[in-house]
């Protein structure tokens, strides 16, 4: 469905994506994860055809998405910057979307509007940030586009609505499988939904793997300094802390499955996908604590 090869995207002097490669299969839910400014939104806008690549190849549905009618007709991008005509009521807006999207499910849109207590007579400019995001999400569900892109769709939503959104997304996907790209700052909330994760880090596609592979790729161990050091030396060190003298806790990136039974002196700690992501993309070992430690030394 989506193929990116050696993509470069520059905004004047600023590079948003570089040497970017990825391949996203049809009918999968892929989480697009990255730190702020990593290039997630740029990637999604390139795929939606809103932006023009500076170099490389972006192919969506077999075409260059920029100015492609086929891609536009089969893609919907939901984010908090959606521009909607303010003269139309929510009900009229839904009717307008129904006009453009042939798979539009009117009854689903109306049911969701009622569930989230959004009156069709309201105007979008009178909605709160969370309600506006909810309305955008309803459009995303009801449009049933072969490629649905959600860029931070839960911005402003309270936790109950976020929970409902994720549940609705999963149910809708199971009923009508399609290709979904979902970016969120709350990986811990969406990890159960995702089949694959595309981690964008430092403007590159850093990792593209399944959620279980992501969890398995990062291992936290605790034990005596000697044993932990021996284990760490075999892998890529991500974090290392001597919690009490002689006892160390380390986080490493492993390239292959670790047989824990081979290290009986070590305690293995299971990490969530979100923790694994944070360790993998942490710019500096020791994180923010290290900054304060350095500051205290001065």
């Amino acid at each position: 469905m989506i193929e990116c090869k050696n993509v470069l995207k520059k905004y004047r002097r600023h590079t948003a994506l570089e040497d970017f490669h990825c391949s996203i299969q049809e009918n999968t839910i892929t989480g697009v994860i990255g730190r702020n400014g990593a290039g997630k939104s740029t990637f999604m806008k390139l795929v939606a055809g809103y932006l023009k690549k500076s170099q490389g190849e972006v192919v969506v549905m077999g075409e260059n998405p920029f100015t492609s009618l086929k891609v536009s007709a089969n893609t919907i991008m939901i984010d908090d910057n959606m521009s909607l005509p303010i003269s139309l009521t929510l009900g009229e807006l839904l009717q307008s979307f129904a006009l453009f999207y042939p798979n539009w499910n009117d009854s689903l849109a109306n049911e969701l509007m009622a569930y989230f207590k959004l009156s069709p007579k309201m105007y979008v400019q009178n909605l709160s940030k969370g309600m506006r995001s909810t309305f955008h999400a309803i459009i995303g569900f009801a449009a049933r586009c072969p490629l649905t892109i959600y860029d931070e769709p839960t911005t402003g939503m309270d936790s109950a609505v976020r929970k409902d959104f994720y549940r609705a997304l999963l149910k809708d996907y199971l009923a009508f499988p399609r290709t979904i790209l979902l970016s969120s700052h709350h990986l811990e909330e969406i990890e159960n939904l995702l089949e694959d994760v595309l981690i964008i880090h430092n403007q590159k596609a850093f990792m593209h793997l399944s959620i279980s592979e992501l969890k398995e790729s990062v291992v936290a161990v605790k034990g005596s300094k000697v044993e932990v050091d021996r284990f760490v030396s075999m892998h890529e060190k991500l974090d290392y802390n001597e919690t009490i003298p002689g006892t160390v806790m380390a986080v490493v990136k492993v390239s292959q499955y670790v047989h824990r039974e081979n290290f009986p002196q070590l305690t293995f700690i299971n990490l969530t996908a979100n923790e694994a992501f944070i360790y993998l993309t942490d710019s500096q070992e020791g994180g923010i604590d290290r900054v304060f430690e350095r500051n205290e030394l001065v």
Partner: protein
Amino acid sequence: MSLNEMSLFDVVKKQLRLKFLSHHSIWLSLVGIQLFGILISAVATSSGSSSSGNIYTTSHVYSSTFLQIMTYIWIVGTSVYLALESSNRIDYTFVTTRLSQFISNVIFLIFIAAIGAFTAYFASSLIPLVQRLFVNGIILNTSFTFVEHIMNITGTFGYILLFASTTYLVVVLFQFNRFIPLGFLVLYSLANVLLAKIGADSLIIPLYNFYEGESSLSLFLLKAFGLSTILLASAWFVNRSKEVRY
């Protein structure tokens, strides 16, 4: 899920429908501005009085020029609004491409230019009605044949279309690079200063004569459509590979 095929014609049709539905303010402003034009036009542009024995006559001349100027101002404002990226971004929330957006904008502009021309012309016929309400006296109307009516409307439409396409291009250029229209303005002013120094006419005079001096309606329309096509095609050339949003 299978992919949907949509033709350019289909998308343009849908976009036009959305534009007609969502741009309430354009129609409201047209009504407002023409009502204002009618009221201002109810003030005489020239007056005169004469007497012969015991008979005193006072004559007032009323013209719809102000109403037409107001309609031109309206089309300029509307064209600015339609050419703005913030308005065009709405199209991209739905199905669109730069081409379909451009075509739908042009058709919409032509349509509203026609509506503006019709309403301006018919609103001018309301001026004598307003006079009947407030003025005691004999009202003499300039009477036109049906063909003359059509010619007047068509002429107004040509001017409105020229204003619309010029404004559209200026806004597109300004959004592309704000120094381009300013550069043109500076060049134009400099050229006029130089022409004035050598005693020649301003640059606008030949252009004005080219249109205003045209006595044949069909030739005038040809000139108006020709220039509008060049202006709008230039706007398309600038906008065709512009990104939608950052």
